[in-house]
């Protein structure tokens, strides 16, 4: 027997998509059943009360969580999102409903052993509800009480060798695309770089020291499968700088219809036979490709590595061998002064095993932003306020045409005093000697 009537939520159990309501109900039932086996550390009916509270929000069309919440574990300034229900008498099971962020493995590869251990811990000390995963990447454990936080943290660290993720004004949990683990387009080992940077900057991740939040994301190529250009203050996107490798026999096989374009991604609809001219050459943004005597040619000097031709003909075209990554900065959501995507800062950098080049750019940016960034100002906003030129100065990077999509059209140009013959100190009397009033 469900604890609360949920007529509105019940409607979301129909339809083909996996229903979160059905899953929640199953979890609520499972807790009722297992209460004699497991000594649940938070209320048995936490999930029932969550459903009840959600139903109330569906009826009233208003959220029923109180503002904010500051809880955590000793030694860390983040990792736990405190949350309290504003109807604790009616829904005591969710009076406390804190979220714990658990740092996920790069690429989110798991063994069932690990997941079982985590589930056993969470069933025992939490609601058993999760979010796999938060948008930033963390494993999200949804709903527990304050006294359980240190207990869970102890078991995570001592038994599972597993740390919390980030929250607050700090480095948030980095994330990467699957990279070289199972993609032929990965230009560097995204998972390894993600892991190494996560470990290198643990201090910055666990103890907020920044003006505001800061995110890293690692994409293996410009396809952006982890969307770093939109969702990370510093975005690392793989690329190459030599020639695209062409297998002309495979090109012929595509032209001859033996291989499906785009790995068969559009097989659900009849788009006619593959037309390399129409689907590849004419769509190339720089028009640097052509067919000659049945062979595909690419003027690689003019190629901007947009990935289109490679995406269409994965078995004929491969990324180059001289690989590295680009670094882009400043992506953020709209608040306060408008949404931003990452702006290109480092066009190309080789990734070596010391990661010194990457770390140098990161630390130069942090040194500047930590000193100059205003309270709750994202890097993208500091860049807007102080200018892209300043970002180049602090990172020691020379201005390059690749830093702009177009040059400025207004003439409000600042010069440094030393660039101007005679400097800025002028005597009006000297001017008047040549130009009487």
């Amino acid at each position: 027997m469900p604890k609360h009537e949920t007529p509105l939520l019940d409607q979301l159990e129909s339809g083909a998509w996996p229903s979160f309501v059905a899953d929640l109900k199953r979890q609520a039932g499972s807790r009722q059943q297992k209460q004699n086996e497991i000594e649940f550390q938070i209320p048995v009916d936490v999930v029932d009360d969550l459903l009840g509270l959600l139903e109330l929000s569906y009826v009233e069309k208003e959220v029923h969580w109180k503002h904010g919440g500051i809880v955590g574990v000793f030694g860390y300034g983040g990792g736990v999102i405190g949350r309290y229900c504003d109807q604790p008498e009616k829904f005591p099971g969710v009076a406390h409903f804190h979220t714990m962020r658990v740092n996920q493995p790069a690429g989110k590869y798991y063994k069932t052993d690990y997941l079982r251990q985590l589930c056993d811990l969470w069933d025992f000390r939490g609601s058993g509800l999760t979010n796999m995963h938060g948008s930033t990447g963390d494993i999200v454990l949804l709903g527990t009480t304050t006294p359980q936080l240190e207990e869970i943290f102890y078991e995570l660290t001592h038994k599972m060798d597993q740390d919390l993720g980030g929250s607050g004004s700090n480095l948030r949990t980095p994330a990467a695309c699957l990279g070289e683990s199972r993609c032929e387009w990965a230009c560097y080992d995204t998972q390894e770089l993600c892991y190494q940077m996560t470990m290198e900057y643990q201090d910055e991740l666990h103890r907020p020291a920044f003006p505001y939040k800061f995110k890293f994301k690692f994409d293996g190529c410009p396809n952006g499968c982890v969307a770093s250009i939109a969702r990370a203050d510093m975005s690392f996107i793989g690329t190459w700088r030599d020639d695209i490798r062409i297998d002309q026999e495979a090109v012929a096989a595509y032209v001859g219809g033996e291989i499906k374009p785009n790995g068969g991604a559009h097989a659900g609809k009849d788009w006619g036979p593959f037309d390399i001219q129409k689907e590849v050459i004419d769509l190339c943004p720089t028009k640097c490709m052509w067919m000659e005597g049945g062979k595909l040619n690419i003027n690689d000097r003019e190629c901007t590595r947009c990935m289109h031709c490679i995406n269409v003909m994965p078995r004929a075209l491969r990324i180059g061998n001289d690989r590295g990554l680009s670094i882009l900065c400043g992506a953020k959501a709209p608040i306060l002064d408008g949404a931003q995507l990452g702006s290109l800062l480092v066009p190309f950098m080789k990734v070596d095993e010391s990661y010194d080049g990457v770390k140098e750019v990161i630390e130069n940016i942090w040194d500047w932003w930590m000193e100059e960034g205003k309270n709750r100002e994202r890097l993208g906003e500091t860049m807007k306020r102080q200018g892209f030129q300043k970002l180049l100065e602090v990172t020691g990077i020379d201005p390059d045409p690749r830093h702009v999509s177009e040059p400025r059209h207004n003439p409000y140009i600042f010069w440094k005093e030393e660039e101007v013959p005679g400097g800025f100190e002028r005597d009006i009397n000297d001017y008047r000697s040549r130009h009487p009033k």
Partner: protein
């Protein structure tokens, strides 16, 4: 809202144990909170952080950024965590009686 009585004083607090009103703060509050914040003995360094947070809050109506707290007290963030294990927000601000930090925490 919960009420706490300690050494003859009464404090109104929220679920996270933050004082509801800054004006209610008294030295007894620090004594009351310190254990739940993992602090055994209050030192001059703890006091220095608390004093600065209170002065800054009275003057500016907000808590200082971490960078400013470090700069003025001369304590690196690492040392602030040694003093206040739950950090400058949950630990030091709570003990100083400042309002609960908000935003995307």
């Amino acid at each position: 809202m919960a009420t706490v009585e300690f050494k003859g004083k009464t404090f109104e607090v929220d679920e996270d144990g933050f004082l509801q009103k800054f004006e209610d703060w008294s030295p007894e509050w620090v004594d009351y909170v310190k254990e739940s914040e993992g602090i055994k003995e209050l030192t001059d360094e703890h006091q220095k952080v608390i004093d600065f947070l209170q002065d800054y809050y009275k003057k500016n109506g907000i808590a200082p950024m971490v960078r400013i707290l470090s700069k003025v007290t001369g304590f690196k963030l690492k040392h602030i965590y040694e003093l206040f294990p739950s950090g400058p927000g949950k630990g030091a601000c709570k003990m100083a009686g400042l309002p609960k930090p908000t935003g995307c925490v």
